[in-house]
């Protein structure tokens, strides 16, 4: 599964990060790596909330990934 990170930046500079396609604690490690890299670019981040995704959100991700994997519908004869 492709690993994706979606980061939304608000007008006050607050960010919301969504890690898709990571297993186990990989996404937390990736988030830490991203925070370290951001500090090198002069952006210090302070987590205000971290939550596990709901089952509905996870299912929506899986559906999206399936569509991306097979973008052309099979032709019927």
């Amino acid at each position: 599964m492709t690993r994706k990170v979606r980061v939304k930046v608000g007008t006050d500079g607050a960010v919301e990060a969504d890690f898709v396609g990571f297993s186990g604690s990989d996404c937390l490690e990736e988030a830490e790596k991203l925070a370290e890299n951001l500090a090198r670019f002069g952006l210090l981040v302070d987590p205000t909330s971290v939550r596990k995704k709901t089952q509905a959100e996870l299912e929506a991700e899986t559906e999206t990934t399936q569509e991306e994997r097979d973008p052309v519908p099979a032709q019927r004869k």
Partner: protein, 148 residues
């Protein structure tokens, strides 16, 4: 495990603009953020702003726009902390507080988005940047997407 996380951010530039004759990446990023904000608002980049009495105040970067010709300045102190300077006083009592705040928020948002895009690119992600409008006010959000 997949998680959604929210972060507060703070911009902290390198205390020195140049190292060994090369512009520090954080200062380069601030220049890019200031230029992007000026372009979005139909303005230009300068190195000083004016107060309500037309007195010039020198700063590290400034954005001058048609809506706020006095400009909003960016000052970086010896520790790299960023301060926005502007004079929002208006004799008519209307004031320019909101206009000036829009410019400084634009700089913060653009800096943050550029930093995220560059950090993800360094982690070998393919990066795309989009804009979105949110909520009843249609506030601007910048969305940075990275895929591995």
């Amino acid at each position: 495990m997949s998680v959604m996380s929210r972060y507060r951010t703070k911009i902290r530039l390198s205390p020195t603009r140049e190292v060994d004759g090369k512009v520090d990446p954080t200062w380069q990023l601030m220049r890019e953020a200031v230029e992007a904000t000026a372009q979005e608002l139909g303005g230009r980049v300068a190195d000083r702003v004016l107060d309500a009495y037309n007195k010039s105040v020198v700063c590290d970067f400034a954005v001058i726009t048609p809506g706020f010709p006095r400009g909003v300045g960016v000052r970086v102190d010896s520790a790299g902390a960023v301060t926005f300077i502007y004079d929002h006083y208006d004799q008519s009592g209307r004031g320019y507080r909101r206009t000036a705040a829009d410019i400084s928020e634009g700089i913060i948002q653009n800096y943050t988005a550029l930093a995220v895009a560059k950090a993800l690119a360094e982690m070998n992600y393919s990066v795309e940047v989009d804009e979105a409008r949110e909520g009843p006010t249609g506030a601007r959000a910048v969305v940075v997407r990275g895929s591995l």
